[in-house]
C-alpha cells in the first residue's frame, strides 16, 4: 500500500501548506466537471489526510455539492482522478465506494422515512456485517445488527428515539440520524454535506458538539455554511469559488488570505 502512494506525485498544494504529507485518505487530482458551458468543478486538486477535518467552504453555487457528489460517485467527473485509500475509485459505482469506506450525508436529509430510526442504522451495520443475501432469518431480531446500531444512535444522542419512525423525527434529529447512519458504516472517510443545514441554533450547537467528538476518529470532509462551526472545527479549509480552489490551508492561513477575504469571507465574517 505505502509504496503505491510514494510513487504517485504529491500535489504541490499539499507541500506548500504543511511541508510533510502522511498518506492521504482521499486525493482529488485535477478533477473537472462541466454542466453545459458551466464549469462547476475546475481543476480541483485536494488532499484529505488521516484524522483531519477538512472543510470546504464557498459561496452558493461554488460547486461544493457537485464536488461531494463526484467523490461519492453520484456524478462522474469529466476529467481527473479520485484516489481513495490508495485506490483509484474514479469509475466505481456509488455502492462500491461506500463498501470501501466512503460514507456521506446529504444536504437535503436522506433517510428511510418508513423505517424506525434503529432500522435505518441497522441497515448500515448490515452493509459491513456479513452477507445481506440472507432470506429467511428475521433481521430485526439480530443482536449483531441492533447492538452496533444502538451504539451509533447513542453517539448522536438519539438513543431514546430508536423505535420512532424516522419520518416522524424532528428536523435536527433527522440530521443526527443521517450522521448515525454514516457512523454505523465504520467509514474511512466521512463526507458531510451541510450537516447543519436548516437546523435551529440549539440543534446546530448539539451537532457541532457531536462533530467535535468524532473529530480525529474519522477523517472528514465538511461542507458547511456556518462559518462559526467551520472555523471552530476544521483542521484545514479549502475555499471553492466558481469551481476552483482559491485557497487551501489552516483556518488561520485562510482567514489571512487576502484573495479569500476579498472574494468570500469579507461578507461572511462581518
Amino acid at each position: 500500500m505505502t509504496e503505491g502512494i510514494s510513487t504517485e506525485a504529491i500535489s504541490a498544494e499539499a507541500i506548500s501548506t504543511e511541508g510533510i504529507s502522511a498518506k492521504p485518505v482521499l486525493r482529488l487530482e485535477s478533477l473537472a466537471k462541466s454542466f453545459g458551458g458551466l464549469r462547476v468543478t475546475d481543476a480541483v486538486t485536494l488532499e484529505v489526510r488521516p484524522g483531519e477535518l477538512h472543510a470546504v467552504i464557498g459561496p452558493n453555487g461554488a460547486g461544493k455539492t457537485t464536488l461531494i457528489n463526484q467523490i461519492s460517485g453520484l456524478l462522474a467527473p469529466d476529467a481527473g482522478r479520485i484516489v481513495f485509500c490508495g485506490e483509484d475509485v474514479t469509475s466505481l459505482p456509488v455502492h462500491a465506494r461506500a463498501r470501501r469506506g466512503l460514507a456521506r450525508s446529504f444536504q437535503i436529509t436522506s433517510i428511510l422515512p418508513g423505517f424506525s430510526a434503529l432500522e435505518n442504522v441497522a441497515l448500515a451495520v448490515q452493509a459491513r456485517a456479513g452477507t445481506s443475501f440472507s432470506f429467511l432469518r428475521s433481521a430485526s431480531a439480530e443482536a449483531a445488527l441492533n447492538a452496533p446500531a444502538r451504539a451509533a444512535l447513542a453517539q448522536v444522542g438519539l438513543a431514546e428515539r430508536a423505535d420512532v419512525p424516522a419520518g416522524a423525527l424532528a428536523h435536527g434529529e433527522k440530521r443526527a440520524l443521517e450522521l448515525a447512519i454514516a457512523l454505523a458504516m465504520e467509514p474511512k472517510l466521512l463526507l458531510l454535506d451541510e450537516p447543519m443545514a436548516g437546523t435551529g441554533h440549539d440543534e446546530s450547537a448539539r451537532l457541532v458538539a457531536v462533530l467535535r467528538e468524532l473529530k480525529g476518529r474519522f477523517p472528514m470532509v465538511l461542507v458547511e455554511h456556518d462559518m462559526g462551526a467551520v472555523f471552530a472545527l476544521a483542521d484545514r479549509i479549502s475555499v471553492l469559488i466558481y469551481g476552483r480552489i482559491l485557497a487551501s490551508g489552516t483556518p488561520e492561513e485562510v482567514r489571512a488570505d487576502r484573495a479569500v477575504v476579498a472574494a468570500y469571507l469579507g461578507d461572511e465574517m462581518e
Partner: protein
C-alpha cells in the same frame, strides 16, 4: 417533544399476536371451507375457493414487487401463463410428473424473469410499467401463435399432473388442499423474505434507493433477486391454475389479467401480504357474485373500485384499520 418521545411508537405497541391474528383467521377459514362445503354445492365452492387461493399466490408475488419494492409490474400475468403453459405443453406430450413439470415451470419463469428483469429494472416508474407490459405482451402473442398447442384457442389438459405416477391432483378436494399448502408456503416465504436482511435492503430501496446505494448496497441486484422470486411464485400459481381448469390459453397472460392482479393487490392493501390474499378473495368472489346478477357486472364493479381507491387508501385492510382507529402502516 419529550412526551411524544415517551409514548410508545405504533410498532412497539402492536403485539405479535395481533400481527398474526388476521393471517391465522384467513388460513383457518380456508382450511375449514371444504368441511362446510359438503352442506352446499360442494364442487362449486371448492373450485371457486381453489381459484381464490391460486390467484392469491400470484397476488402475493405481485405484492412483493409493488408493495415492498415500488416496482409496479403490469405484466405479472406472463409468469402465471408461463407456469400454465409449462404444464399444458408437457402434458400434451404425455409428461405429467410433477417432479418434472413443476421444476420446468419454475425454471422457465425464473429465466424469463431474469432476461426481462435485467432490462426493465434499469428503468423506473412509468417506464418500468410500460416495459413489463411490453414483455408480457410478447409472451402473450408468442403463446397465441403456438399453433401446435392450440394458438389463440388454447389447449385442454387431458391429464392433471401426477406425483410419482399417483393422480394426486385428480380430485377437487386434493387439489384444494395442495393449493392451500402452496398458498401457505408462499405466504410464509414472503413474510420471512420481507423481514430478512435481504428484505430490509429491498424495502429500503423502495423508501430511498439513493440512500441504500450510498450505504453500500447494489440496489439493482436486490431488486433483480426479488423479481426472480416473484416470477417463480407467479409460475407456481399458473401451474396450479392449469391443473385446476384443465385448460390453458393465451388469455391467462393477457394484460387484462395483469391488471386484475394489480387490482387484487391494491384492493386488499399494498405491502401487507395479508391484503394480497384478501384482495384476491374480494376480487374473485365479487366477480362471481356480480356476474351472477348481471352480464354487465363490470359496470358495478368499476365504480366500486373507484370508491375503494378514493375512500380506502391502503385498501380493504387500510379501511378496517381506520375503522378500528388503529394507525395503518
Amino acid at each position: 417533544m419529550v412526551q411524544a418521545a415517551l409514548t410508545a411508537p405504533p410498532a412497539a405497541r402492536r403485539s405479535p399476536l395481533r400481527g398474526n391474528a388476521l393471517p391465522l383467521a384467513i388460513f383457518l377459514i380456508l382450511a375449514l371451507t371444504p368441511l362446510f362445503a359438503v352442506f352446499g354445492a360442494q364442487a362449486y365452492v371448492l373450485s371457486l375457493v381453489t381459484r381464490v387461493m391460486i390467484f392469491a399466490i400470484a397476488a402475493l408475488a405481485l405484492d412483493l414487487l409493488v408493495g415492498y419494492g415500488a416496482l409496479v409490474s403490469f405484466g405479472h400475468a406472463a409468469f402465471v401463463g408461463l407456469g400454465a403453459y409449462a404444464i399444458g405443453i408437457l402434458s400434451s406430450h404425455g409428461i405429467t410428473e410433477i417432479l418434472v413439470a413443476l421444476p420446468v415451470a419454475l425454471i422457465v419463469a425464473v429465466l424469463f424473469a431474469y432476461l426481462t428483469g435485467i432490462v426493465c429494472l434499469r428503468t423506473r416508474g412509468v417506464h418500468f410499467i410500460m416495459i413489463t407490459l411490453a414483455f408480457s405482451q410478447m409472451i402473450y402473442f408468442t403463446a397465441s401463435s403456438l399453433a401446435p398447442y392450440g394458438g389463440d384457442d388454447g389447449l385442454t389438459i387431458q391429464t392433471r399432473a401426477t406425483l410419482l405416477g399417483l393422480n394426486i391432483l385428480g380430485n377437487d378436494r386434493a387439489l384444494y388442499y395442495i393449493s392451500f399448502a402452496c398458498l401457505a408456503g408462499a405466504y410464509l416465504l414472503c413474510r420471512a423474505l420481507v423481514a430478512s436482511r435481504f428484505g430490509r435492503v429491498y424495502r429500503g430501496a423502495r423508501e430511498n434507493p439513493l440512500r441504500v446505494a450510498t450505504i453500500g448496497f447494489p440496489v439493482y441486484r436486490y431488486q433483480l433477486v426479488a423479481y426472480l422470486i416473484a416470477g417463480a411464485l407467479g409460475s407456481l400459481s399458473g401451474f396450479l391454475l392449469g391443473n385446476a381448469t384443465d385448460f390453458v390459453s393465451p388469455a391467462y397472460m393477457s394484460w387484462q389479467r395483469s391488471g386484475e392482479l394489480l387490482i387484487m393487490v391494491i384492493l386488499g392493501g399494498l405491502g401487507t401480504l395479508d391484503g394480497a390474499i384478501i384482495g384476491a378473495a374480494a376480487f374473485i368472489l365479487s366477480e362471481e357474485w356480480l356476474s351472477g346478477l348481471t352480464e354487465h357486472w363490470k359496470v358495478i364493479f368499476g365504480p366500486l373500485l373507484v370508491l375503494v381507491a378514493i375512500f380506502a387508501r391502503g385498501g380493504l385492510l387500510g379501511l378496517v384499520a381506520r375503522l378500528r382507529g388503529a394507525p395503518h402502516d
